[in-house]
């Protein structure tokens, strides 16, 4: 299963979010080609119709990335995405909005938390995410795109998310959010960067593989105590 020179994993390795044309500047086939060359075994292709491509050993996951808007518009978009059986990601907003998104049926992941206001994702959100099997997306692009205080803020936010993940055990996904091939990084590079900011290697590997389970609706394993 592992493909490409960068893949160190013996399991699925999926980039959680890429934006080909019209959002980005590369075609779907080029995005798939680049991801495969970097060592991924699958990729989430957002907001674009997917042409018929022969991609052996590569799983293409069609997705919809829903930007912030009114609750009614969002509900309509999510229902439409659920009907088409697509992977559904919602851009995080304010704390109350995030709680609403997390309780909406059909939402698979909450993304772009780094653009959300401070305290947008708290322990109540974490609890709801764990209960309703919704993942939190770790966008890695800001880690190399930003500099100085803004990057420090993102690292601090991810540290808080990891702390909550450790406590509530909700799913995580890892995405590049790539618009061009130059925004893409291999799994090995992403693993190194995330390890440097304090993410556990096992968790990184689990997060790379979490999207198929989210689509199937599997819940993470939980320890049941013997209360006799």
């Amino acid at each position: 299963m592992p493909t490409g020179e960068n893949n160190l994993f013996l399991m699925h390795c999926i980039d959680g979010c890429t934006f080909p044309y019209p959002s980005g500047s590369c075609s779907v086939s080029r995005s798939v080609h680049e991801l495969k060359a970097l060592g991924y075994t699958g990729g989430v292709i957002c907001n674009t119709p997917i042409p018929e491509l022969e991609t052996p050993d590569f799983q293409i996951i069609p997705a919809r990335h829903i930007r912030r808007g009114s609750v009614r518009e969002l509900q309509k978009d999510i229902q439409e995405t659920t009907k088409r059986r697509m992977y559904c990601m919602v851009q995080a907003g304010e704390n109350k909005m995030n709680r609403t998104f997390l309780t909406m049926p059909g939402v698979h992941a909450l993304s772009e938390l780094h653009t959300a206001p401070k305290n947008a994702f708290d322990r109540f959100c974490a609890q709801i995410a764990a209960e309703r099997n919704v993942a939190v997306d770790i966008r890695v692009r800001p880690l190399w795109e930003l500099r100085g205080i803004s990057r420090q803020r993102v690292i601090r936010l991810y540290e808080e998310i990891l702390l909550l993940q450790n406590r509530y055990e909700f799913h995580l996904t890892i995405s590049s959010g790539a618009l061009t091939p130059l925004d893409m990084r291999g799994p090995r590079a992403i693993e190194t960067i995330l390890t440097e900011i304090g993410m556990d290697r096992d968790l990184i590997r689990k997060s790379f593989d979490s999207i198929p389970n989210l689509m199937k609706g599997y819940k993470s394993a939980r320890e049941i105590s013997d209360e006799t």
Binding site: Y21, E34, P51, E145, T180, R185, R188, A189, I193, E196
Partner: protein, 163 residues
């Protein structure tokens, strides 16, 4: 200061692919990596890491660092977004204790040959750079943004290479 061989520090060598494979000076790459490393880990760690660019033969670059710092150097290499003002990316893919193993790895990998040509997309002919691994980059000036700039052979209607 000259030390006995047993007292010398051990090195680690990193092999990385730099995209786009533009010919450039190794010093320019070093300055960028040094800057990125400093912003990520600080001046003190940068002074301990002993980063050096051993050689750069497009698209592969060989980097050297002190043993124990290879993960941080790899992270810094992955965080490079531009070199000499050109949007670029460095993909590290092998770490070794000897430069010989790294050179063997380079020899194993096939070299990408970039050729210029023209492709027909949406009934218009556009100048492109064609990579031997089926990657096609649209290069024409003042290009219409109603089409993707990075494509493959599956997206085009016709193709011919320049002489």
């Amino acid at each position: 200061m000259r030390l006995r061989p047993s007292m010398r520090e051990n090195y680690r060598y990193l092999l990385a692919r730099i995209e786009p494979p533009v010919p450039m000076d190794a010093k320019e790459i070093f300055l960028v990596i040094s800057d990125v490393y400093c912003s990520l880990f600080g001046e003190i760690q940068a002074s301990y890491a002993w980063i050096a660019v051993m050689e750069y033969t497009p698209p592969y670059g060989i980097f050297r660092c002190r043993r124990g710092y290879e993960h941080t150097v790899e992270a810094a290499l992955s965080c490079v977004t531009s070199i000499r003002g050109i949007p670029s990316v460095i993909h590290p893919f092998k770490t070794s204790g000897t430069i010989r193993t790294i050179r063997e790895k380079i020899n194993q990998n096939k070299v990408d040959i970039i050729r210029t040509g023209k492709v027909k997309v949406n009934e218009t002919w556009i100048s492109v750079e064609i990579n031997s691994t089926d990657r096609i980059d649209l290069k024409e000036k003042g290009i219409n943004h109603n089409m993707p700039l990075y494509i493959t052979e599956e997206d085009i209607e016709d193709l011919y290479y320049d002489e």
